[in-house]
């Protein structure tokens, strides 16, 4: 789960990490009120969960009321990378002397948390890693004991020779790590962490990704979720016991297992079709769940045909076939459905589906070929 910048800022404050004064607004009026208490100039920042907001025109400076009105109303009417801007952060403009990058994340290879710092702040860390790897320090953290103070101190010394700034960054790193661990984050990132002309060090941006699997112990984070339309679908699917991710193609997919679902999509694409969604129906496939899944696939008006690819495993195929029949009774389907079922009692399943509108195929490749052919034929 990704948090919005203004939400991450609140967590930063709670953990003692300095941020610039500011507040979030959903309208020009709110923005004006905030700017009044802050004093001009202020920065207006679109609150959307994507990188490159600056380049897309989602971050602007306003030096007075007029400019603020104009810029806020403009940004609030924008879409950035397909995401509607509903909120803007209004923050005090500051004089930056130097920008750093600091962040904690999970390193999958070493199975450890890592602290990453860079003297090159304000640009994407992957860019720095590619172009100036010597400007990045990666510190591997102990899995059981976390970050030691000397590690925070050494990392800060990598960033600057200034003793006072080192001590400030060190403290911020310790607080940021405490935040990272206490909310079960997979990533916390301050980019840029800025040294201002008054000598203070503040977080000018805030990015937090929380581990979805750990949200059960962080109900306060769960309530921060601001869903896009697509995410609402995903959440609805989760609540019904399957995983759904909307894509832009025309072939609806219903598969059991994430790996097989991806492979099915890959094959659709390879054979000239385009998948409309990722859908993993999960372990048990009772008729109700299958019906909900088909219903969700059909909400996407681009979908021209559906491919059902079930490797039943231990599940009996005749059960699944009966479930499918029941499901299509509940949901009215007017587009072709291709079904591949493998597992115990495949043959019975085949017979069950014989005189139904469902098109039975024997293998995954046959199924994908068939559905692509149906769609491309139009």
């Amino acid at each position: 789960m990704n948090l919005q910048e203004y939400q991450s800022r609140e967590l930063f404050k709670k953990f003692g990490i300095p941020v610039v004064d500011g507040s979030v607004a959903s309208s020009v009026e709110e923005a004006l009120k905030i700017a009044e208490t802050l004093g001009y100039s202020v920065v207006v920042k679109a609150q959307v969960l994507t990188g490159g907001r600056g380049k897309s025109g989602g971050v602007k400076i306003a030096n007075n009321e007029e400019e603020l009105k104009e810029k806020v109303s403009k940004i609030l009417s924008m879409e950035i990378k397909g995401l509607k801007v509903n909120k803007v952060l209004i923050a005090k403009a500051v004089q930056i002397k130097k920008e750093f990058y600091v962040g904690f994340t999970v390193d999958r290879s070493s199975k450890r948390n890592v602290l990453i710092v860079s003297s090159e702040g304000g640009v994407e860390i992957e860019e720095v890693a590619k172009n100036d790897p010597e400007k990045i320090l990666k510190v591997s953290l102990d899995p059981l004991l976390g970050m030691f103070s000397y590690q925070a101190k050494n990392a800060s010394m990598f960033l600057t020779p200034n003793k006072d700034v080192i001590s400030k960054i060190s403290t911020i790193l310790e607080q940021l790590f405490r935040l990272y661990i206490s909310i079960d984050a997979n990533l916390v990132e301050i980019n840029p962490l800025a040294l201002l002309s008054d000598g203070s060090v503040v977080a000018l941006d805030a990015k937090i990704v929380v581990d979805d699997n750990a949200l059960f112990r962080h109900p306060e984070i769960e309530t921060m979720r601001e869903l896009t339309e697509e995410e609402k679908l995903e959440i609805e699917a989760k609540s019904k016991g399957f995983t759904y991710i909307k894509l832009n193609g025309s072939i609806g997919c219903l598969v059991n297992g994430a790996g097989l679902a991806m492979a099915t999509m890959d094959l659709v694409k390879l054979l000239g079709g385009s998948p409309a969604n990722f859908l993993d129906i999960g372990g048990s496939s009772n008729p109700e769940k299958v019906a909900s899944a088909i219903e969700m696939i059909l909400r996407d008006k681009n979908v021209k045909a559906i491919l059902i690819n079930i490797f039943g495993g231990i599940t009996r195929c005749d059960d699944v076939a009966n479930g499918l029949l029941e499901a299509i009774k509940k949901v009215k389907v007017e587009i072709p459905i291709v079904v591949r079922l493998t597992g115990t009692n495949e043959d019975i399943a085949k017979k069950i589906l014989e005189n139904t509108p469902l098109i039975y195929v024997d293998s995954m490749v046959d199924g994908v070929s068939k559905v692509v052919e149906l769609v491309n034929r139009g």
């Binding site: 059991n256 994430a258 495993g313």
Partner: protein, 288 residues
Amino acid sequence: MSILIDEETRVVVQGITGRDGSFHTKSMKDYGTKVVAGVTPFKGGEYVFDIPIFNSVEEAVKSVQADTSIIFVPAKFAVDAMFEAINAGIKLVVTITEGVPVQDMIKVNEFANLKGTKIIGPNCPGIISVGKAKVGIMPHSIFKKGVVGVISRSGTLTYEIVKHISDSGLGVSTAVGIGGDPIIGMKFIDVLKGFEKDEETKAVVLVGEIGGSDEEDAADYIEKHFNKPVVSFIAGRASPPGKRMGHAGAIVQAGTRTADEKIAYLESKGIKVANIPNEIVKLLKDVM
């Protein structure tokens, strides 16, 4: 010979009385696996399928010398179950449970390492040593005894591929589902080390997917240290970046390779990658 498990493996099922736990316990037992104990607090003294239940793993180890554990308990309790198994001296822990927090797995892995316990999973189908034992949830009827070792991050995709291998007559020696989470116990390389020494295994199939760089790490390892033929399938070429595709670990992030890039990397290390699951058989026959 086989890797990780065999006829002598003594399995304790943590969460044996749950729906999945009891179902798969029966299936493992039917396959011939020595399931010697179950653990469910408060049910110590009872029996399921003639298997004694204990209140703790420690008792199961002491009373019936369990050496391998399979975990079916819900995500909230799975971590504690793994720590319990490790502390009780279990040598191999297979965690089927999906949804275990990443920070917990970071700790579990280190602790297991320090205590000399191997972890498979979480969020995995487990292990099958064909004809010998199953510590997992895979439909064992599709596994025909043979010479191909399989290591995979996913479940049903593996079954799909295994079915082709079985049908082809090559058959499977041992198949290990290492799990679809970002932080897992044994990784491709760890399992490859086992297959290297396993005389029954003549070739290996590596079933990977988007997310992380384990496949690339494995490719580096194979190029330098692995002496049996390896072929691969990588899922996720049609998956958009930035989205978790079902598996918590299946996501293309800034700084990690896309499926196409992974495939290119593997091929640059001499590993043939199939475009379609059933192509695996042809690739295997080419290299064996």
